[in-house]
Symmetry: C2
Subunit: 233 residues, 2 copies
DNA sequence: TGCTATAAGATTGTATGCAAAAATCAACAA
DNA sequence: TTGTTGATTTTTGCATACAATCTTATAGCA
């Protein structure tokens, strides 16, 4: 029996490992730049190298790991240049998700997003940053879900995962936070009006500001050890 | 020595296999729906199952193969619903590539694209479909390259690869072909003017028409055996 | 001291073996 | 004929073994 899950779900080991390693990266257990020694991980997880290596190849293909032939895997790191490269693509995808979401959004889905929005607004007024991030991320997930396009979801999440490699606790200025909140007000309005063009425009702008926040976090945090990755907004 | 390449390039076997299998899928050597028997492929390629399986996992993650636990891999097939799901995402990415390309395009790059454009126009007037497709694809590659965003390139090509699973020889009507050619005229004009908004709009529209062509090809070609995948335009 | 060269050790890449699951097929009954 | 059961074969999933490559530590030399 492997030590990963007590009640083995209907999945293969390598597949489970992909998820497990992803979590280890996002949680900070494996930090950017760390080498990923196969044998050590195998001992730790109680498995053999074969399924682990299959998982490493997949994560390498996703851009979360850097695979150096004959020299093992490293957790990928993110430069400011990488951010500038990834964010425009995410922006295009998120804009699309806004358009599709507006076209398909049910009243029930909108109601849920609105509820989350006000919950988030409350966290904003109370200056509860962590809670704000959590709900914020949930809202974006809801919009993406509402777009009802699994391919879009996969592609977007792949990029969002790479961004999460920049695991520096977000430190939004009050000014930027207020701005983000205003943008979310616009989003809600656009969603209610089912105005896809408007929503995609707001989302693009929103992401543009987010990019600066992330870049600044990278600049300030370079070299330091940190906790789990957080959402930026 | 493995039988894949005479002069082993500086790469690992599994990586080479990813490319090799991709080619086999695109060339039609492995057709959509085919099972991919590990042992048989290993014998054929003169390798063992371990690196092959690593490659299969990667291609599964890319969506070119469908991995069924304990039941092996199948070459993925493409339904019309899949097309409708993938094309909007490609559209968003191609629109972005147009905007970025306009922002960065050098005069030399534009000159090359213009040359290709006129070459393609010649193939169009002569009704040389295959040549038209080839040059057409080259033009789109040039625009993508000009965008100078590797992440965008990777994501776009991943989707383009999945579309190529619909390996039916394109059968454009003359009407649609003429329309595509007019769209390319608009593209060239937008590129020359470095009008990113305009180019991204034309590219989106262009892709929308392409979607219909591909869907029609799927409808007409279902079940038949075909040659290598072709570009659609 | 600082550099190169070389050899030992560690790590990765690939092949093989074995157990478990699925697919196939044959016998049989309805 | 059709459908069901069970044994046999095939195929996959994982573990292990061996080979190739890289890393490092050390010795020799200028």
């Amino acid at each position: 029996m492997n030590q990963i899950s007590e009640f083995a779900p209907r999945t293969t080991l390598h597949e489970e490992l992909v998820g497990r390693l992803r979590d280890m990266i996002f949680s900070g257990e494996l930090k950017g730049g760390d080498r990923v020694p196969e044998q050590k991980l195998c001992d730790m997880l109680g498995i053999s190298r074969t399924p682990l290596r299959e998982a490493l190849k997949v994560l390498g293909n996703e851009g979360l790991l850097e695979l150096l032939p004959n020299r093992g895997a490293r957790v990928a790191t993110l430069s400011e240049a990488d951010i500038d490269e990834i964010f425009p693509v995410m922006g295009a995808l998120e804009a699309l998700s806004g358009e599709l979401a507006c076209a398909r959004l049910t009243d029930a889905e909108f109601a849920e997003i609105r509820a989350l929005h006000y919950q988030m607004a409350l966290h904003h007024t109370r200056r509860e940053l962590a809670d704000y991030f959590r709900v914020n991320q949930h809202i974006h997930e809801c919009i993406l879900k509402a777009a009802a396009n699994p391919t879009l979801e996969v592609q977007y999440n792949a990029l969002a995962g790479r961004i999460r490699l920049a695991r520096f606790r977000a430190n939004m200025t009050d000014k930027r936070w207020d701005q983000a909140m205003r943008e979310h007000e616009e989003m809600l309005a656009a969603l209610e009006a089912r105005d896809g063009k408007k929503l995609s425009e707001v989302l693009s702008r929103h992401l543009e500001n987010k990019r600066e926040t992330v870049k600044q976090a990278i600049r300030e945090g370079t070299g330091e050890a940190h906790g789990p990755a957080v959402a930026y907004d």
